[in-house]
Symmetry: D2
């Protein structure tokens, strides 16, 4: 396995040249496009780490999976999926035109921005701070990492430049699809996206999802088996935005990407994977990380389909 | 003429029952749906007033014509129409989906909300206050009314509930179609819309437009002949939103409506008309006021087509 | 006037280099891009002709005005405008996406392809031939030209390659917005578009429209005053497709263009104008012909706005 | 297992009242809305049949899976997926507006109508008949049923009323996204959809897909392991149209529905399932059949996620 990972790392390292680091805010541009790191936890307790597995990056859209689990836990599927759909979409992750159609009454799914803004609005809490802390604490628990912090530079930049997200949120507000104070919701959303993690953190989240919601070290249930499966199902059809269908054919297991460069990959009942490569493809997905997952899947026959 | 107006008023009074006063903010709901007032200034100096011609209402979208004139005066057609189009549209006045299309780079025209937000952003001034005062002073001059004030209740309500306008503005900001601070631009926009006028004020604006930009009492040019014509032309194709084509067939001269109940009607080189009827049709246009203009046009053969 | 036209022709001749002859079918590509011809009939009986005024070209979309008059005459405004709208649109002339929206129940206006396919379907007649002959005879009458014929090469080419028009027609058929046999309707539509005319023919149509529907030589009414005005009104807001608003500002009178290179311009109660220049701009409008109309309008102050 | 199926049949029988038999053509309306049949083949050779498992119905959209396999076999993934995408969509199965967008160059996936029209166009053959026979022979082979025939009444009805499909096909033709003669392609498409099958036929197709492309009785490879997996993957994200995401959560294995009332369900390496219930939900999916699959999946833990 170690040898396999070395080969896969080597082979996909060259892919990093084909992508581009996210540049919509200055802080993200600082990432080294050539970085590539992998961390795998298997269900039997083995750990495999290689490359830049301990480099920090912001979690970005991978936070959408966390938010989904939190609100499913608090409110249940019926309430949550009454507010956000569960269907894949071939529109861009930050598309909003469809929300302006008279017959559309919720975002397609919680893995695109509009959907995640809705799930963020559903986090319970007396104040903005309480809501964010709920998110952060859940993330600390599922990563078994108490040292997670927000990257302030990224957070403030996202907040300052997140006009498209604002547009979506206000559009949904105007149609009654979003409750609460828009700026407060967006503030929590931007903060969530700006938490720094590394491949080990992602691997731990992934392993918990692979293990039906249980922390395998402590034996404690983080989320129920049902929620873990629902999260995996939605990640499978929508986790890579409008590249999800292609990813399903090439890789074939639930995953979620972020523009920070991370991908969380879940092989049900087998392993949790965290990969980091900040160079992105045209759809905003980490290009070398996808290459890694593709090779892993082929070599170990990991597709669930 | 007096008799004609009396008959027309009488006849269209019943139409007020077929519409509904705008109710998206409480302040607008207070209007009396049965109100109907007319004020006509002809180019030879005659004045005809009847009904509720001196009731106050907020100018709302009629302000879009004022903003257009101000920025055309300051910047010229080339700069302005580089930022906002001049084409009619069959989409709703507050539609925004098209702005999310990759090949769309400006709002259809300055008579719909998105377009007026752009023209508002183009008003010159060192501060938000200076920009708004520029608008207010221009409006005072063209109405020959120094007593115009903002209805604070309406303004604050619009500001609080104007989520769809915010969505548009942030969407345009995210695409680089809108420069400046979004909340500042919207603040000016909402304030403009909340200025109180009456039929006489509208009649004075309309007369100036009919008289090629001149104040006929003082002989002074408010805007150039070219700007007056451009404003009339755009009002003709887009002044009644996606009811403009129908209005052109039924009435046939440039006009602009507002959800406050006002319509400004311009018969080039003949007369300026202000009508007030707060009961609106399904497209947000004052229903009895349109009836009045229809009858006037038929009786006096006022269509320009 | 003769001198003015000479100057205008000279000046706009160079614009022909900036456009491109329609090339979606081979037959249209044969046109000489440098051609430019003008024919003006004024209401007092004067005739002015210059340049390539007697070159033949296919009438194309200008036929949409003819079809509209025929069906308004036969069925009246209520029935016709129940099936096709009268609003301008900023979508392309052959756009169809909006017809797929659940809340859209008719094409925007009869000057875009979808709308003209609907008006064509409304022509009365026992057979396809009878319907087409109704069109042709009306065209002969309004042009005072008995020698009009279909250009078979163009007709067959249009029919063979008119996939986008077919798509529109079948889409409307599937939504119940179009009655009758689709292929038969399209056959009549393609045939109509392929009739050859010259600037004089267009000038005659335009003069009739300018003269409120009357043939000024014979004194006979071709269409009623009301229909003539309705046709002029719709041409004003939609005759140049999604370039109509711009044309209204630059030229300012009702007109209709065709990809064959013709433009019909109507100055109400003043003159009828036919211009021919097959080199088209990006919106499919004859580029030098628009230049001619722009100069004519400026020099003679012909804008109706 | 027999008892389980009896219970499930009983329980879901009542769901048939909540749906409506497809009624866009008279022939489909003849189906008995209360029918419900199930046939399951497991990978170890067991067969379970219950209810109306041998009633005949037209295969309809389930044919899309067959066509996909045929063209993947003949042309390979690269060529096929260059012409049709593999992404899920939250648009209706017969939506076409997106194909009119300038930046869209292929249908979302081969499980919606537009995508299946494209895959149908890719079937190789010297004539229309040859192409259809290629389809029919493949279907006979994969169902191990040599008696499959086209229901002529349904075929002719589909052909006569398939205006929306025609619209899509001509739109794609006009954009160069579809090669060949549109009417010929549609004729094959309509004929494919009109072949009569029963639950056993569907079960056999499903079993072959579950067994990685092999006919388990003969040991022969019908399609390669790779094609079988690709087909399963695409069915998982798009097989139930814009209800696919919901189905993935509720049921969780690859499936394809048809408006004739059939559903094909594939549990990889476990079983192939055919269910029939002609009463459809609002998205055009067989309502009681979905209920059956949901219960089966819950009871036997069949979700792949």
């Amino acid at each position: 396995m170690e040898k396999l990972l070395e080969d896969i790392l080597e082979k996909n390292k060259i892919l990093t040249n084909k992508g581009k680091v996210a540049d919509y805010i200055p802080a993200l541009k600082k990432a080294n496009p050539e970085d590539l790191g992998i961390c795998i936890f298997d269900i039997d307790g083995h750990v495999y780490k290689i490359g830049d597995y301990n480099k920090k990056f912001t979690i970005q859209s991978i936070s959408k999976v966390i938010t989904l689990m939190i609100v499913l836990k608090d409110l249940g599927e019926e309430i949550v999926f009454n507010k956000v759909g569960v269907e894949g979409t071939n529109d861009d992750f930050d598309s909003l035109y469809k929300l302006d159609m008279p017959n559309v009454d919720k975002p397609a799914n919680p893995m695109i921005n509009a959907g995640a803004i809705v799930t963020t609005s559903l986090i319970k809490g007396g104040s903005s701070e309480e809501k964010f802390n709920k998110f952060l604490n859940f993330l600390k628990k599922i990563t078994s990492n108490n040292n997670l912090v927000v990257n302030k530079e990224v957070y403030l930049s996202e907040k300052e430049t997140g006009h498209k997200n604002r547009a979506m949120a206000y559009l949904m507000k105007s149609k009654g699809l979003l409750e609460g104070d828009v700026e407060e919701i967006l503030d929590i959303y931007f903060k969530q996206c700006s938490i720094e993690v590394d491949c080990e953190d992602l691997g731990n989240i992934a392993l918990t999802l692979a293990a039906d919601g249980k922390n395998l070290k402590t034996g404690k249930e983080i989320v129920s088996k049902g929620i873990a499966r629902t999260a995996r199902t939605i990640m499978a059809s929508s986790g890579m935005y409008n590249g999800s269908g292609n990813f399903a054919i090439d890789v074939g297991f639930p995953a979620k990407s972020g523009v920070g460069g991370g991908i969380l990959g879940v092989v049900p009942n087998k392993m949790g994977i965290g990969v980091y490569s900040p160079a992105l493809d045209l759809k905003g997905n980490p290009i070398a990380a996808i290459g890694v997952l593709k090779d892993l899947s082929k070599k170990l026959d990991l597709s669930i389909y």
